[in-house]
């Protein structure tokens, strides 16, 4: 069945050396391919962006087509933290704790104006962007963004995941980034 790849949308193998009975590529690329097509998102939905996310997960848009249909409601098993909605300052420490509980490698997607910048809630009780407490990989603009934009955001995350080298999380740059946020 899988030989008829023109009928089924199958992820292509990474570049490598192919011969009779073997295929060789670098571990980075194979692992990146596996990771990017089996993301387990943790939805941290606090307001209307969460509703758009539900539409994104449902049949019309179907995030499952991109290998991300298995939502993880435990941070321990999640790869991708999707922050969708206004984060009150009181919620900040909780969001940070969820981020800290996620196992490496982990990515963060900030969906919508509120999560990215506070949005219209320029007020004393709202965190003015989640990047004040945790590092963010991809921002999705919009108030709220349409499901197409969410899918685009996931694809941008997939680009990052697929190209990430296996040792990136051990690099001094990455450690410095986390240290900047006071995260061990």
């Amino acid at each position: 069945m899988l030989t008829e790849t023109d009928k089924y949308n199958v992820v292509q193998a990474p570049p490598g050396v192919e011969g009779s009975g073997f295929f060789a590529t670098s571990l980075d690329k194979a692992v990146g391919l596996a990771r990017k097509n089996s993301l387990w998102p943790l939805p941290f939905a606090t307001s209307c962006c969460g509703i758009e996310f539900m539409a994104t997960m449902a049949s019309t848009y179907d995030l499952g087509r991109f290998g991300a249909e298995r939502l993880s409601f435990s941070p321990r098993q999640a790869d991708l933290l999707m922050v969708m909605g206004t984060i009150a300052k009181k919620m900040g420490p909780i969001l940070r704790q969820v981020y800290e509980q996620m196992a490496e490698p982990k990515w963060v997607l900030s969906m919508g104006a509120c999560a990215s910048s506070g949005g219209i809630f320029d007020t004393y009780s709202v965190l003015q962007g989640i990047d004040r407490i945790i590092p963010v990989d991809v921002y999705i603009p919009g108030c709220p963004p349409r499901p197409e934009q969410v899918i685009d955001g996931i694809l941008r995350i997939q680009d990052l995941v697929g190209k990430e080298s296996l040792r990136r999380r051990n690099t001094p740059e990455y450690k410095a980034l986390l240290a900047q946020y006071g995260i061990e």
Binding site: K89, K90, S117, G118, D122, T123, Y124, S125, Q128, R132
Partner: protein, 168 residues
């Protein structure tokens, strides 16, 4: 009907707290009574426990801040309801911002517990005798009372807005 209620409650309050009743007036169709801080607990207790008035339901209470009202900057509004007769009244009390203390009414209405915590949170009104007076909605680290008029609504840490674009 409401005017009769105003007169009736005024008489009840005069009998109960005397000069503690400062003002009784109609705000549109709503009887409003201004009461001395020292008498507010007794007034609410009487209105609740008197079988004639029977205001046994605390609809809401909220803080007030009028910075220009010297000596009476801060205040509290209590809204009481008599469900069987459908009588509704407002009680107000004012006090200086330097001394924002009011007796708690949690002993009369346990539901006032969280409401009073909220008013402490936003206005810094200290309820004497409250069993657990700490912030309820804002984060514990907040070091001011955001609904007081001297504090700006906007988040002070936001850097991407300036006057030319957003009128800040």
């Amino acid at each position: 009907m409401s005017n009769e209620l105003l007169t009736y409650i005024s008489e009840k309050l005069k009998a109960g707290i005397g000069n503690g009743l400062l003002k009784a007036e109609m705000a549109y169709d709503f009887p409003v009574f201004e009461i001395e801080r020292d008498s507010i607990h007794l007034a609410i207790k009487l209105l609740k426990e008197d079988p004639d008035t029977d205001f046994h339901f605390l609809t809401t209470l909220c803080g007030l801040h009028y910075p220009d009202n010297k000596g009476k900057e801060l205040g509290l509004m209590y809204q009481l309801h008599n469900l069987p007769k459908n009588h509704r009244i407002r009680l107000k009390t004012f006090f200086p911002v330097q001394d924002p203390t009011v007796p708690t009414i949690t002993d009369l209405f346990p539901a006032a517990n969280w409401m009073e915590r909220q008013e402490y949170d936003f206005y810094g009104i200290k309820f004497q005798g409250h069993p657990n007076l700490k912030r309820i909605l804002n984060m514990d680290e907040m070091n001011y009372f955001p609904m007081r008029k001297e504090f700006p609504l906007e988040d002070a840490t936001r850097t991407d807005k300036d006057d030319t674009m957003f009128g800040r």
